[in-house]
């Protein structure tokens, strides 16, 4: 469902992402790990079409996002770490706006929008301006908006910020349930304890290079001494200068 072939990004003299080859199947929950500045955000920006790769290509649902951006983005949902939402729109107005962007029929909007607002517990504030929302409420609204058009692929960048434990559990279970229904999730996060509950496969990136991919079990076997995922991650991404 997601395939990158030699995907690279160079900023001046610095190679931020170096020939990334990745293949993620439909219905897979893939977690992307790496220390700060490893190239996770740059990869996400290339996958969502926000950045143009310096080399290689990214295919989502078998379509090259650079060649056919509109078609690709129609099947894609994106949840950023700091959700940008229009402060002067109400939650309900924002949902309608997103429905317009994705060209959803009105009848789908009316039913589904309310359903998602209810599901993500923001229906009661649906008529309030977003500027009055807390960070967690904004995050929940961006989740609701993301699923409005039934995406086939969801790219999530550190989704837990601002969510309370109850909502973290809900989001985790919701995403997992969706993958069982065929959704592909690509998630970048630092919260290793949460990954262990949801990830089908993990990819570890360090200094722009994809070091390893595999299930949690596979990754744990990479450690020289047995330990937790956190121990393995720290060992694999230990800097040369440390």
């Amino acid at each position: 469902m997601i395939k990158t072939i030699g995907l690279s990004k160079r900023f001046g003299g610095k190679l931020a992402v170096n020939a990334l080859d990745l293949s993620i199947d439909q219905g897979e929950f893939f977690c992307f790990l790496g220390p700060n500045g490893a190239g996770k955000t740059t990869t996400i920006k290339m996958l969502t079409g926000l950045l143009k790769p310096s080399g290689g290509r990214a295919e989502l649902g078998g379509i090259d996002i650079q060649k056919h951006p509109v078609a690709t983005k129609s099947i894609l949902g994106y949840i950023p770490d700091t959700p940008f939402l229009y402060d002067k729109l109400t939650g309900r107005e924002f949902m309608r706006f997103v429905a317009g962007l994705y060209q959803l029929p009105k009848e789908v909007l009316n039913g589904k929008s309310e359903e998602l607002l209810e599901l993500f517990e923001v229906r009661h504030v649906g008529d309030q301006l977003i500027e009055n929302y807390s960070h967690g409420m904004r995050q929940k609204l961006s989740f609701a908006a993301c699923f409005l058009h039934d995406p086939k692929i969801v790219i999530v960048d550190e989704p837990w910020v601002g969510l309370d434990p109850k909502n973290i559990r809900f989001v985790k279970e919701y995403l997992k349930q969706k993958t069982r229904e065929g959704l592909t999730v690509f998630m970048s996060t630092h919260t290793l304890s949460l990954i262990e509950d949801v990830a089908d496969r993990i990819g570890i990136i360090h200094q722009g290079v994809l070091l390893h991919t595999g299930s949690i079990k596979d990754i744990l076997t990479l450690a020289r001494t047995p330990g937790s995922l956190e121990d393995v991650f720290l060992e694999l991404t230990r800097g040369e200068n440390e």
């Binding site: 509109v70 078609a71 894609l76 950023p80 002067k88 729109l89």
Partner: protein
């Protein structure tokens, strides 16, 4: 609903919600802004009406078939106005398109949505047009109405003026947007030094052009040939401003067919311009967007490199926390192209102004006109100052925005913060405006008393306008907005601009009245004049002190009482 329509729908909703939220604003602020806006419009209308009436009397021969000299000048004035508007819109749209298409916070969300670039462009383009054109409509409407009334135009003239407006503003907006997209593709590849070099060359070319064309000899030509020659370029068939002026003037004369021809010419060109701009966006927008995002991620600013990198060292004599705050303000300003590029405009305006004073006007030989010219000169300088403080100083507190907690948690008082902004304003704006006054007074060869009075006026208005802008900026901050242009165009910014205008009007009116009455021999004796002079100078000082301290005090109280 198409995707472009969805974005526009959201923008209209945002606008409606913003208008609705006015009811939560201070009633006093809303009342002052509304009344001042109406009064300013009426004043502009009265000035244009008076000027047109005055002009119409020249060369009038009571014939219905030939145009009098005054009528020719009036029609030329409309052409000049349309041309000036065209270039203003072109320039402002270049800047607005850059901030709207590339820099607005919502862009990352919109770019990842399934929207074609041409469609994305069209949605943002409409926003640019709306944002850049409301002020020109506000300032242009009194002129059009005054012209129509003086000329006794029929209703067709007013309908034509409204009808021509949208296609007219669309053309410079489309060109401006394309210029912005091309610059985004070209400029990031240039070293910073080359960018500055291009800017300096552009200002220099403008200066030399104005110097060559704005000759006092031409303007003062009693046979009107010089002015005709000077205004000839505004009548070029290639200019959309000329089509608009011709079409509207034809409507004023009841020549509907001619007016319709120019309307269709303008509208078809507007459609083509927008169509081509959307096509250019399909090609240019995404590579530029990606480059810009990449450059931002790759930007390195090592300490100690370049003058901005050394600013911290240069200001080491300044006590903390002022040094840290000033350094931050300067760096943020310098690293935001939308900020310093607008600052370049002020250099352009100053260059044009100085260029226009190249030859000492013949009228300076007359004591009466000399007094008027010197007072108008200081009026022009304070107007530039008021524009500087309204545009760049007022948003300073708001620009702390969502980072305000950093300052809120720091061991410094809000009193220290707003006085730092005040002194930063006084020192930076003084450097430009005092130089402008010294240069203009030198070129006009003004008398010692005028020289001293001009210098005094600009110094005290620097204090007054800085206090007003920092004070009102603290009293009505907008922490939700990151774009300074939008902060300025809000209610608080509008109030600040209107009060700034009111303040400099009082300052200039006081000294003009005093100096003109002196020339007219109203004072019985020199001592009577000197007493009035002292009174006026003291009055200006008191007014400036009130304008400085009162808003600062109110602003400080607001910051102290606010919760972040």
């Amino acid at each position: 609903m198409t995707r472009a329509k969805a974005i526009l729908w959201a923008k209209i909703r945002i606008g409606r919600n913003q208008v609705a939220s006015v009811r939560h604003e201070s009633k006093l602020k809303v009342a002052v802004v509304s009344v001042s806006a109406v009064l300013l419009w009426i004043a502009a209308f009265a000035a244009f009406y008076g000027a047109f009436q005055w002009l119409k009397q020249f060369g009038a021969d009571n014939s219905d078939t030939t145009m009098g000299l005054g009528e020719i000048i009036m029609s030329r004035m409309l052409s000049v106005f349309a041309l000036a508007l065209f270039f203003m819109l072109l320039f402002s749209n270049t800047l607005i398109a850059f901030s709207t298409i590339y820099r607005a916070r919502e862009n990352a969300y919109l770019v990842q949505a399934p929207i074609a670039w041409w469609e994305y462009f069209l949605a943002r383009f409409v926003e640019c047009v709306a944002f850049s054109s409301w002020a020109t409509a506000y300032l242009g409407s009194p002129m059009i109405l005054a012209y129509g009334l003086v000329q006794g135009a029929s209703i067709i003239f007013y309908v034509a003026a409204i009808g021509f407006y949208l296609p007219f503003i669309s053309i410079p907006a489309a060109i401006g947007a394309v210029v912005a997209m091309v610059l985004v593709r070209v400029f990031p590849r240039l070293p910073r030094g080359s960018m500055i070099g291009v800017g300096i060359i552009a200002v220099w070319c403008l200066f030399m052009y104005m110097r060559g064309n704005l000759s006092m000899d031409k303007l003062a030509d009693p046979n009107f040939q010089g002015i005709q020659q000077l205004l000839a370029p505004t009548q070029s068939w290639l200019l959309p401003s000329h089509w608009s002026a011709r079409g509207v003037l034809a409507a004023a004369e009841g020549q509907v067919a001619e007016s319709l021809f120019f309307f269709l010419l303008l509208t078809s060109n507007a459609f083509v311009a927008v169509f081509l701009a959307a096509g250019a966006a399909q090609l240019l927008f995404y590579p530029g967007w990606s480059d810009l995002l990449g450059n931002d991620m790759n930007r390195k600013t090592p300490p100690g490199r370049g003058w901005v990198g050394r600013i911290d060292i240069t200001l080491r004599w300044m006590p903390e926390p002022y040094r840290a705050l000033v350094t931050k303000d300067i760096k943020l300003f310098w690293r935001d192209p939308a900020q310093w590029s607008q600052f370049v405009i002020f250099f352009g305006i100053m260059a044009v102004y100085i260029a226009s004073l190249r030859d000492r006007p013949v009228a300076m030989e007359s004591a009466f006109w000399r007094t008027w010219i010197v007072c108008l000169n200081i009026g022009a300088c304070t107007l530039i100052l008021a524009t500087l403080t309204s545009r760049f100083i007022f948003p300073l507190i708001s620009l702390e925005g969502r980072r305000f907690w950093v300052i809120g948690l720091a061991p410094l008082t809000y009193r220290q913060l707003i006085w730092q902004k005040f002194w930063l304003s006084v020192s930076s704006t003084s450097a430009f405006t005092i130089t402008l006054v010294l240069l203009s007074c030198y070129m006009l060869e003004v008398d010692a008393i005028f020289f001293a009075l001009s210098l005094y006026s600009i110094v005290i208005t620097n204090f007054g306008l800085s206090g007003l802008s920092v004070g009102l900026g603290s009293l009505y901050p907008n922490f939700q907005e990151d774009n300074p242009a939008r902060i300025v165009s809000g209610m608080g910014g509008t109030l600040n601009f209107l009060l700034s205008m009111g303040y400099i009007t009082l300052i200039i009116a006081a000294q003009t009245t005093m100096m003109v009455t002196e020339v007219l021999g109203v004072y019985r004796s020199p001592s009577h004049f000197h007493a009035t002079l002292v009174l006026v100078v003291a009055g200006m000082a008191v007014l400036s002190a009130v304008t400085t301290f009162l808003p600062m005090r109110l602003g400080l109280r607001n910051l102290d009482q606010s919760e972040y």
